[in-house]
Subunit: 365 residues, 2 copies
């Protein structure tokens, strides 16, 4: 099935992407601006994974860096297109499709801008079904798709193309270049065939973003609960309802790292730990949910998603959790994106509180 995206879809899509982005991916408002600018009064063709030819050349396009910096550096369309151009030259083949590496503010709408500017179709899919802070953290890595050749470029006109021995080395070298170049660059990589894209991407992500974003807006209009509306589509549950009382945040080595405390009405307290994205939710000492499952913070009444850099003292928020794509719960995936990788001394726990172990989930007393 082929559908189209116009400027009118962007608000819903950006809102839904900010929900699935679990606090990361940058300010959805910034990303929406750029996508609307690229679409103008036109429309963008969005294709299902099943309709991508086997021999297609699919590329991810994304912004890499600290979301705290992205907010202040809206990229130009020329900048968004540059890494795709550089990579196309390097590969010596015509790029046929653009895909999102992750869902999350800027990185759901940057690919829309890139696809529109390049007149290429966008695939209704993404590489994670959520957002993660490092570039090797996509499902294609687990299927053996290489991040490199990977192109990166900045707003000054500097560009690089990396060819590395594994995806972690792509991340390491691109990250230090990104930090040196001002903590925010555009990247393109993970070149895949249509067959590889079908095996490794999460299906229907863009449609899901639009559905979630529109459900939140519709609930507001109908005076029903927007958070409940989102939860139904997410298949998730509410973890906590309270007020933000403390936020510690620092932009270090290209990431926005920190923690937030939310106090409930009955003397209870929830702590969120994040590195661009929310990674661990702990209530009065008990871990309720961890990466790779989704931990999201929504404004209490409006259901508007709040990014980690948007967290402020005094906000009334509801913290919700939802299941990640099941492939994220394999042992190999947990080694790459589980709490231990990020330095948190706790086992991976699913959104429903059960432990996440390789291929099995067991209830916890």
């Amino acid at each position: 099935m082929t559908r189209t995206i116009t400027a009118e879809d962007i608000d819903g899509l950006a809102r839904g992407a900010a929900v699935l982005g679990t606090g990361g991916g940058g300010d959805p408002y910034i990303g929406a601006l750029l996508a609307r600018q690229a679409l103008g009064s036109g429309e963008l063709t969005v294709v299902d994974l099943d309709d991508v030819p086997d021999d297609a050349l699919v590329l991810f396009v994304a912004m890499m860096g600290a979301p705290t910096v992205m907010v202040e550096k809206l990229p130009s369309l020329a900048e968004v297109v540059e890494p795709v151009r550089a990579l196309g030259v390097h590969l010596g083949r015509a790029v046929t499709h653009i895909a999102c590496a992750e869902v999350g503010g800027v990185n759901s709408t940057i690919p829309i801008a890139a696809a529109a500017a390049l007149s290429l179709p966008l695939i209704d899919a993404d590489g994670m079904g959520r957002a993660f802070p490092e570039l090797q953290m996509v499902l294609p890595t687990l299927s053996g798709v290489t991040a490199s050749p990977l192109a990166f470029s900045d707003e000054k006109g500097n560009t690089g193309v990396l060819q590395t021995v594994d995806n972690s080395w792509t991340e390491r070298i691109a990250r230090v270049a990104c930090v040196e170049m001002g903590c925010s660059v555009m990247i393109s990589g993970f070149s895949m065939s249509g067959t590889q894209a079908r095996t490794s991407l999460v299906r229907g992500s863009l449609s899901r973003c639009i559905a979630i974003g529109q459900a939140i807006a519709a609930a507001r209009e109908d005076k029903t609960d927007p958070v409940d509306a989102a939860l139904i589509l997410l298949g998730g549950r509410e973890l906590f309802d309270g007020k933000v009382v403390d936020v510690q945040r620092a932009t270090t080595t290209g990431f926005a790292r920190g923690r937030a405390r939310i106090d409930g009405d009955a003397g209870t307290s929830l702590t969120l730990q994040f590195q661009n994205e929310h990674l661990v939710a702990e209530k009065d000492g008990d871990v309720l949910a961890t990466t790779p499952d989704l931990i999201m913070v929504l404004e209490g009444d409006s259901g508007e998603p709040i990014t980690t850099e948007g967290l402020r003292y005094g906000q009334r928020v509801r913290v919700i959790a939802a299941p990640a794509d099941e492939r994220w719960h394999s042992a190999e995936a947990l080694a790459m994106v589980g709490p231990g990788y990020f330095g948190y001394d706790t086992p991976a726990r699913r959104f429903d509180g059960t432990l996440s172990t390789a291929g099995a989930s067991e209830p916890v007393a």
Copy 2:
């Protein structure tokens, strides 16, 4: 004129290059090993700048990083050749000639190894007439030759190609990548035509290295003074004779930075400040010579050059100075490689103690 280099020339060349390398460029012994390995029992064609065709494609090949690390990481021939290969693919043209970016231990012999392994002629010239720590610090930068596209690669198999807005940005991005990749990478860049090479390179550098190296060896054999023999060919003067009594050295942000104190017999003292290369020589508070002129440390009796990382307590040394290529004394050049650039609060002073000002040298009282 075309000459050839065989394995027998390497000792002399490496010694002379270590003299002109003013303490930097890495251990000449390491570089000589690699060049001898590449040459085997064969010979390498070395061509004069005047014999390079106007439309040649000339590339620099060099090792980038902290000499303190280079000593422990002897590159393989495959590693030396990789950035040239990557850059050739990027440029889509056949490389015709290899040239040295600088003279100095490893970076005079790495290009020999690369040229021999690639069966390409090497040009009897270099980009500095000495060694400097940052990659934009070559005379071609002053003639508008761009460092990028610049390829870099490590021993693990990671490679990158940069295209930047100026040569300082090439340095900045390549440097952070180099540090992340283990503080030592092979690079190739500054692609030039034969015409550009003739305008911007220092002529006869390799012949000069061999002549200096052989003169030092011959003086030892003849029981004459090897340091005097070097000074005649360098057109320089002796600054100080003494014993190394203190060396402070740290490898930071990819450079070996530090200072050394040398005490003379008559209660006098000379301080050398270095960043990979010796940059400032100060005697009892008076600055005797600074970058861009050459400050070199030779073993007192043997005339063997001592690199900054080879300085040790108790060594009897003679510190000598010699004029740099005159192009290094322009105002534009001094902004790039003068003492101020390196953070030393002293004006540029020529090897003979006069001030270096744009286009003129004035005696100092």
